[in-house]
Point group: C2
DNA sequence: GCTTGACCTCAAGTTGGCTTGAAGTTGTAT
DNA sequence: ATACAACTTCAAGCCAACTTGAGGTCAAGC
C-alpha cells in the first residue's frame, strides 16, 4: 500500500493529478488511513497504461471506457480492435513524418515543402486518412 | 488561388480554423480580393504538415517553430533531430501499446493488468522514458 | 437599388486536463 | 499538549486550440 506521495514519487505524477484521476474514476484508492488515501501497487501499471493511451491521442474518457472506470475488465473486443487499427494508422503517419524530418535535415532543396521526396512522404502519411 | 471556403473544402478544415491559423501565423494568405482572403495552393501541404505534427503530439507553437512562422525555412537541424528522436520513441510506445491491445483481445487472463505478457508490453513501452 | 449570401472582424465562450489556493484534519516528534 | 508537515476537500483558475456569435462589408443576381 502506497500513500499518495509515494505513488507520486514512483510514477512521476504530481499528487494533484492522482487525486484528479481518482475523482474522475480512472484509478481507485484502496482505502484510507485516517484521511489519507492508500493505493495498491496495481495502480502503477494502470497509470502507465493511461499515459500510453494519452500518447496515442486518446482522451481520458476514451481511456476510461477501454480500461474500465471501475476495475471490471470491460472488454469490448470490437472497440479494442478499432483502437488498435487507429494506432496502426498513427504509427504509419508518424513513421512517414519522422522519415520526412530526417530527410529534410540532409536535403538541400530550396523549400522543403517543394522537395519532391518530402511531398511524397506527406502523401504517404495521408494515405489512410479521409 | 483559393478562397477560404475552397481551401476548407479541400482540406477538411473549417474556415474558422484556417482564420485562426492565419492569426497565429501558422499559415499566410497571399492577399485579398476585396475583403476575402486568397490562399496559395502551397498552404495545403503546409496544413497537412501541421496536422501530422499534431498527431505527433506537438503544440502549434512547436510546429510553428519547426516549419517557420513566416515562410523562411527556419531549419534548426538539431531541433529537427530531437523531434525525430521523440517521434521514434513514440512509435515504439505505440507499437507496444497496439501489440498489447491485440494481445488482450485474445487473452483469457482474468485481469489484463495481471497478464504477464501484457505487463511485459508495458515495460517495453516504457523503456526509453525517464 | 436592394436583397442575399459568403465572406469579414473581434470578443467571448467552450472543452479537456490539469493546477492552485484557501481552509481544515491528521499522526508523529518534540 | 503542541507544533508541524503531510495530507485532505472544494472551488476557482489556467492554457491550448478552437468555435460561436454579433454586427459589418461587398459582389452578384433579380
Amino acid at each position: 500500500m502506497l500513500d499518495i506521495s509515494e505513488l507520486s514519487r514512483r510514477t512521476g505524477c504530481p499528487a494533484s493529478k492522482l487525486r484528479y484521476y481518482e475523482d474522475i474514476g480512472l484509478i481507485r484508492s484502496a482505502g484510507r488511513k485516517g484521511l489519507k488515501r492508500l493505493f495498491e501497487e496495481s495502480v502503477i501499471p494502470r497509470l502507465t497504461l493511461i499515459a500510453l493511451g494519452q500518447t496515442a491521442g486518446f482522451s481520458l474518457t476514451e481511456i476510461g471506457a477501454l480500461i474500465g472506470t471501475g476495475d471490471r475488465p470491460e472488454l469490448d473486443r470490437q472497440a479494442l480492435g478499432v483502437r488498435a487499427d487507429a494506432i496502426d494508422r498513427q504509427i504509419r503517419e508518424l513513421t512517414a513524418l519522422r522519415d520526412g524530418i530526417r530527410h529534410i535535415m540532409t536535403c538541400s532543396a530550396p523549400s522543403h515543402l517543394e522537395c519532391p521526396r518530402f511531398q511524397r512522404v506527406l502523401r504517404v502519411a495521408l494515405k489512410r486518412r479521409s
